[in-house]
Amino acid sequence: MMKHRAVPDDTTPSRAGDAMSNMRPRHNEDRLFVRDGRKSYRRSYSFNEFRIGMAVLLALACVLAWVAWKGAHPDPDLLSSDADLLIKGGTIAVEGSAPLGTSGSGQSNSSPLPSNLALPGWTVGNMSQFGWDNLYVKINGREDYYKSFGFERLYFVSILMDENQGTAVDIELYDLGSAANALGAYAGERSPGTRPDVTESGMGHLDRNALFLTRGAYYLRAIGSDESPEVLAELAHLRPLLENSLTGEPLPWGYALFVGSMGFDPGAVAYAPENAFSFGFANHVYSATLDDGDTEVFVVATRDGAGAEALAEQFHEGFMSYGTEAGTSGGIEWVKDRYVGTISGAGANGPWTIGVHAAPDLESAVEAYGSIRQAVGSLDPAIADLVPEAGTGEGESEAADAPTEEGGY
């Protein structure tokens, strides 16, 4: 049997209703509709509650004091710049205002630069590094130049004069992967007519406010903000320091050929890892400029004689694309540039593709060709055995068996 609760009539309140109405808080104490939100429902607190409250406030004050003290006395380790703190997860963290450099390859790299770069009165700034992916952050507009020479990493640091922060020497150290690339990039940025100082492991020269060096795969530019005696003294300090600290390696075979065998000035030798003479197929080309300033002799190492002849044929076709037949002499077909009238041609001698570019006339072209043909005869054929598989470079698809080399020596 169900029980039914009696519902009191609104107009005739029951005794139970009266009791309920007596238990209700007064209107101004209604919890749901507190008009004054700050008003306490209790008129007093117990002494225990007061003590607990004071203890909590004291604890908070202690925490505040501790934070303030720690802020004034930081842990020195947090501010150190040890290498293990700088390199985390393949990212090179850089302090200061210099752009943040990150590892393009995901590898961490410590700088090959020595630590004692600054003379007294100078301060070394923070070093930054740049990889393939973020080189543009540092040298947007010229990044492609270094990338064309096998760019792998740029290490950058500024050395600032204490008395005048506007006086500075910026060191840019490019790791270009091979000595041939480093020398090629160096040759491309060297002022015409500059004679580099050549050692067994690299080249270099001081050009007014700037020091240029190659050591092995490294190409270094130390750029002074001006030509003041202070800047020149700092550059003079840097030169032997960097020459001795950067790992060198013997000059590539192309330099041995042109400088050692043919007597060219080292400053006349150039190396193009790709697109020599604007030909897509012409990779890893060593060249040297004759004294007339225009005629170039060039050489490319290939795997064998057949490869050398195929590549020579490509050069001939390339020259013909903007020239006309100029006859056969010295064993090769010569091409006359239809715009400027210079003579170019290419042939093969063993595994070497050799040639002459931009000679003023046929007679001097044949003479230059004869000299390089004779010189490559003294090269060690084992060099050609070191030539890796052909792979890069446009135009190779047209002559699949025309080998090219990659990498330096």
């Binding site: 040298i139 947007n140 700037a210």
Partner: protein, 341 residues
């Protein structure tokens, strides 16, 4: 219990039924009609529902003043005194009062791309900039803003190049870029930058814009002068534009129509540009060019300052000219060439 059904009048029923039917029809139309029909809310690919991107535009005719049939387009000043040369070059194309009015807010855009000292020629000459600021102030400009978005750290570039000190001392206000200062700029007709992040904050309320660019060799586009200078107002990953360097320079000419430009030929970085580094790559140019035609100024710089008149002009000259944004044949425009000091 008695039924409490309310009787409804026929007329009222029809009204309500009609209203309900119209609403259903309207809702059906809005949801099912093709997207391009009137009142359609249909969004089959979700594109219409995306928030609209805020885009900004520069004034349709840029910041250029009315062209003059009588005044020279190129004002060339040669000499040793840079301050006098800047004044003379501007005077040659009509004087500063032709371009700047009292109360104007003027944005000056130097090239501060690299952290190099001014002597190395990779950035605008601070002496030239200071002279220009003083001349603009004398014309009554209310505010002069110097702004650039350098390749390297902005603070370091402005400091090392001497631009910061020169601008502040001459009375200009420097705007260094922060991410919040960029907005998407709409450049109608542009190939690469139809909508692209732009260093916008300095241009808020600006009345006039003046470019001050050095004369530089450039590894990719062969020459960087007044037109290429606007590249420094772009944000985002702008290095990708180097894939079509001539195309982007053409877009830059479309993007910015300045009041006038100053080609700073005080120094010429004639090789190893745009970064340079060796003083051996820099020669004194002793020339300042003011022009209302950026392309004509650049063509003058290519031939007279870089000394490459025997070579073909870089491709971007033809592209900009094809858009009707300049005249690459500088000899065909009116020139006032003066020796000063």
């Amino acid at each position: 219990m008695p039924q409490d059904h309310k009787r409804i009048e026929r007329r009222a029923f029809l009204k309500k039924a009609g209203t309900a039917g119209a609403l259903a029809l309207g809702a059906g139309w809005a949801s099912l009609a093709p997207p391009n029909w009137l009142f359609s809310l249909r969004d089959p690919d979700g594109e219409r529902g995306k928030p609209r991107k805020e885009v900004i535009r520069l004034p349709e005719n840029g910041f250029a003043v009315e062209p003059s049939a009588t005044l020279p387009v190129l004002g060339v000043a040669r000499g040793q005194n840079l301050d006098a040369m800047v004044r003379a070059s501007i005077d040659a194309i009509g004087g500063i009062s032709r371009f700047v009015s009292s109360g104007d807010i003027v944005v000056i855009k130097p090239n501060v791309a690299f952290e190099r000292s001014a002597a190395l020629g990779a950035t605008s000459n601070p002496v030239v900039l200071a002279s220009l600021i003083r001349i603009v102030r004398e014309a009554g400009a209310r505010e002069i803003r110097v702004a650039d978005n350098p390749i390297e750290s902005p603070e370091s570039c402005f400091q090392r190049s001497g631009i910061r000190q020169a601008a502040v001392e001459a009375g200009a206000r420097i705007y260094l870029p922060t991410p919040a200062d960029f907005d998407t700029l709409n450049v109608p007709g542009a190939t690469w930058i139809e909508e692209w992040p732009f260093f916008w904050r300095p241009f808020i309320g600006a009345d006039k814009v003046i470019g001050v660019a050095p004369v530089k060799d450039h590894n990719l586009c062969r020459a960087s002068m007044t037109t290429k200078n606007w590249y420094g107002l772009l944000g985002g990953r702008r290095n990708q534009f180097h894939q079509d360097i001539h195309g982007i320079i053409s877009d830059l000419a479309l993007m910015m129509k300045p009041t006038f430009v100053l080609l700073d030929g005080s120094r010429v970085l004639f090789r190893s540009g745009p970064t340079g580094g060796s003083l051996a790559d820099v020669r004194e140019g002793h020339t300042i060019v003011a022009s209302t035609d950026s392309l004509a100024a650049d063509a003058f710089g290519w031939e007279e300052l870089l000394g490459r008149g025997d070579e073909e002009l870089p491709d971007y000259f033809a592209q900009v000219a094809a858009r009707g944004l300049g005249n690459p044949d500088w000899r065909s425009v009116t020139i006032k060439d003066r020796q000063v000091g």
